[in-house]
Symmetry: C2
Subunit: 226 residues, 2 copies
């Protein structure tokens, strides 16, 4: 499948690396292709400098945000939440129209240090902002509640016995994404919370996730026990 992954950070790297290893025609999108490939320092903890990283994944195409979105039959928003709306504008509504847009981003505000707060929460969410702004896109919020290494390898945490959530307005798109998550990464327990307003709950959970991350690293998730 042709997949466009927006963002060259740890989430974009991890998702596109895994998808390419599965044989998908993956294009990773960035603002400035030459500048990204010339980058030799990492921007955030957990990611590799993009230039050396791409040497390890020569099959992954690198394009602008618009080119990556146009390339993808499915588009993944793997950018930092603080820049997601700008990135999607650069990606272009015409390149998202009718497509499944998997929104993995969290609107974290690191300006006051750790732990971050959220730039939007409680009565709105980034997932809703994206769906409102791109009504032609079929937005499915998911994967944002686990760290990048868990996103692509849930079995590495507790033998995969934990819960992933999805939310979105388009039931067929959610079903398709749930199937992708099972096939691509091996997710087993996937809970559909309902429409895209449930992105509020999924993003507000990050306050707890961040504190658990700070206490014990990224290799964890929660399981809903009934």
């Amino acid at each position: 499948m042709r997949i466009g992954v927006l963002g060259t950070g740890v989430v974009g790297q991890t998702l596109s690396g895994k998808l390419a290893s599965l044989g998908h025609e993956t294009m990773i999108g960035t603002r400035n292709v030459e500048a990204a490939l010339a980058r030799t320092t990492a921007e955030m903890p957990g990611e590799q400098p993009f230039g050396p990283w791409h040497h390890e994944y020569p099959d992954i195409l690198v394009g602008t945000f618009g080119e990556a979105a146009a390339h993808g039959e499915v588009v993944i928003n793997g950018t930092r939440g603080a820049v997601s709306m700008v990135v999607l504008e650069l990606a272009g509504a015409e390149n998202l129209d009718g497509k499944i847009l998997i929104d993995v981003a969290n609107p974290l505000d690191f300006s006051q240090g750790m732990p971050p707060s959220l730039t939007v929460s409680n009565s709105d969410s980034l997932g809703e902002q994206i769906q409102r702004t791109y009504p032609g896109a079929r937005v499915v919020k998911t994967l944002n509640m686990v760290g990048a290494p868990v996103q692509v390898a849930p079995a590495q945490v507790g033998d995969g016995d934990h819960t992933l959530f999805v939310a979105g307005n388009d039931g067929d798109a959610k079903d398709a994404v749930a199937n992708y998550l099972r096939e691509w990464f091996g997710w087993r327990e996937i809970v559909d919370l309902g429409d895209i307003t449930n992105a509020r709950a999924m993003e507000m959970y990050l306050a707890l996730w961040i504190r658990l991350l700070m206490a014990g690293g990224p290799m964890f998730n929660i399981k809903v026990v009934r």
Copy 2:
């Protein structure tokens, strides 16, 4: 032990009922004792009308908020978060000074219907407001992330194999509360998130909790899987 429980709703009823059954000298606090005992209709889903409920628990003392707080060696804030600050003012700082104050409340705003939003979140929390306003109290936030029936009987969900969180500035108070939670209710896995600012994470989780409640009822919790 003498325990003061503030609030006559489902949380106050459930906690004080269980504590009294364990033999603790429990006083439940309300705004107006006579009016509470005369109440024959429930105010929120899941609670019993207070008058008939108290007939089932004649050993439980009923007092004003101030009397219940004065009575308790330990005080539990089991009120609705939207009224907690008013209730604590009625309870009186002098009746909280030096005491462990277990804060179970969530600042839920039901004014726009279901699901509620939070009246305070992201850069502050009810737990912090309480600790700031009553610096002499030893505030420990806990139990707010599970429904009342789970609070007192964690083994009824997944054989008790799930996670409870605590947060607060006073390490000795948190240790004491963790021991109470083990002894009183049988909690096993208790994670200390850190100081009271972590109440933000614990309260913001309610957005997810509410949606899971609406989907499948209150008998659930999350387990942190590493």
